[in-house]
Amino acid sequence: MWSSDLLRAVRAHAGGERTAVYDRGRAWSYRQLWETARGVAGELAAVGVVPGRPVLVNAKKSAGAVALVLGCGIAGVPAVLVSVDLGADAVELLVERTGSTHVLGVDVEPEPGAVVGLRARATGVAVAEAMPGDPPLVLTTSGSTGAPKVVPLSRVGVERFTDWAATTFGIGAGTVVLNYAPLNFDLTLLDIWATLVAGGSVVLVDPDRAADGRHLAELVAAHQVEVVQAVPLCLRLLAAQEQRFESVRQVITTGDVLPSAVLATFPTVFPNAAVHNLYGCTETNDSFLHTVTDFDTTAPLPVGRPIDGVRALVLDPDGTEILGAGRGELLVSTPFQADGYLDPDLTAARFVTGVAGHDGVFYRTGDIVRRDADGLLHLDGRDDFHVKVRGVRTNLQEVEHVLDQHPDVSEVAVVAIPDLEAGLRLHAAVRVDSDINSLALRAHCAKSLPRTAIPSSFEIQQSALPRTSTGKVDRNAISRSHQEARKAHV
């Protein structure tokens, strides 16, 4: 049903013995992937899924999980992909919001081509109506709130995107592509799904070993990976191995700011690769591409220029379009974008029409950009409360809100602290009325926040938090005193 393009492609490739997926040292041919996916579809029918009604896929990334998503497609049920780190409360909330009839996972990793150990829990939600638009996949934003936004992808949008990605990065039959991102990230539309449509081979990074640079380097070398798309964290880990990855033709950094010291190593580490900075988001997929020409720069990489078919507007705070050089909020309209969120109220707030006299639907990215005199766009940050933690967009206010709901907490401030390893990490200053410790507050956060949104460090006190002269919690003071304390500690 869904994304017939993808299903048709995988089935067509299944005639040959080419490798579709490498997972934890095992190669899955297209034939084996297809057979396991068909087995999943059979099991799904047996547990009583209803065509058109979504199911929630809460599975750790693996070849079996990829087959599970394909099997959902064969069974005609939209797969809602969620972060495996999501707390139990947040999962239940998503089940309700999406009307998912089942929560699915992979219990036992199958042998290639064998029947997957499907874990299926019927949710008992009333089957009301099919999800509109017959979405090929339903992604959930990794937002730090207990309520991730639900983004049903557009079928035609996904087909256009996989075409664009294959053409732009030369992904064809047999091309080996590294997949670093979790299954619920939009990045997988490029490194997993576009690759499978094209008949390439996906090398899955085991999420348990994603922080192990030596392992990543072994994967790239052993499989002669040609295309690497990843957040800067992965690229930094690879670069630190002081190896030369001769097989890599395309390096795509995305999702966060690449440190210039890491970029400077690329001509040595990836001697044969074109290097790109790719900008996008779940709602619209990729919209800007910049191909690096200067590796010895301390300036952050620009997001570059709109890719073919993308329209981009820069608006000042009054909503007036800035033509030429200037700074403002970025709005984009892409050939790949979703029709909106599942929640119409959210859609109305972010997917807007009639902007500055332009036709079509534009998405408000919330990102502040600067357009230079040459027409290149540069990211200038977001509003103060949105940060990226290990590539995951996180709203500090939402983390504060969750902590604030704990009965023992009377004041809270969460700040983002620069960190050499992680880029940014979260620090929470909390005023409490009891002797509660950080372990209990962490367990409280874990119930409704993804793991990246659980603060890395807590400062717990029974006295008031510092305030500015206007009476607001003084985040700068909290951030400063925490960093000074850490320096003294080291």
Partner: protein, 87 residues
């Protein structure tokens, strides 16, 4: 100092300085609650290898083996081939 206590001292000092070692339960989920983040895990494994003189780097271990103080202790005991219960 018992081995589990030594593990608790290291974890609280390194990753949760406001907590005293005795407050950290044997079965507290260090991974789901973000006490030990993925980037910390390699550091923890290096320390365990040194402190308990076991070779964890080449052993067949997964993050699951480090989920709680109890599982960490069990993992080390198994690697030593000592099938004794936690002391």
């Amino acid at each position: 100092m018992s081995e589990t206590h030594a593990i608790k001292v290291y974890i609280t000092t390194s990753f949760a300085p406001d907590v005293s070692p005795d407050e950290l339960g044997d079965d507290y989920d260090l991974l789901a609650n973000g006490v030990v983040e993925s980037l910390h895990l390699l550091r923890l494994i290096a320390w365990l290898g040194e402190r308990f003189e076991v070779n964890l780097e080449d052993a067949d271990v997964a993050p699951e083996d480090f989920r709680t103080v109890a599982t960490i202790h069990r993992t080390i005991a198994e690697l030593r081939g000592v099938a004794t219960a936690a002391r």
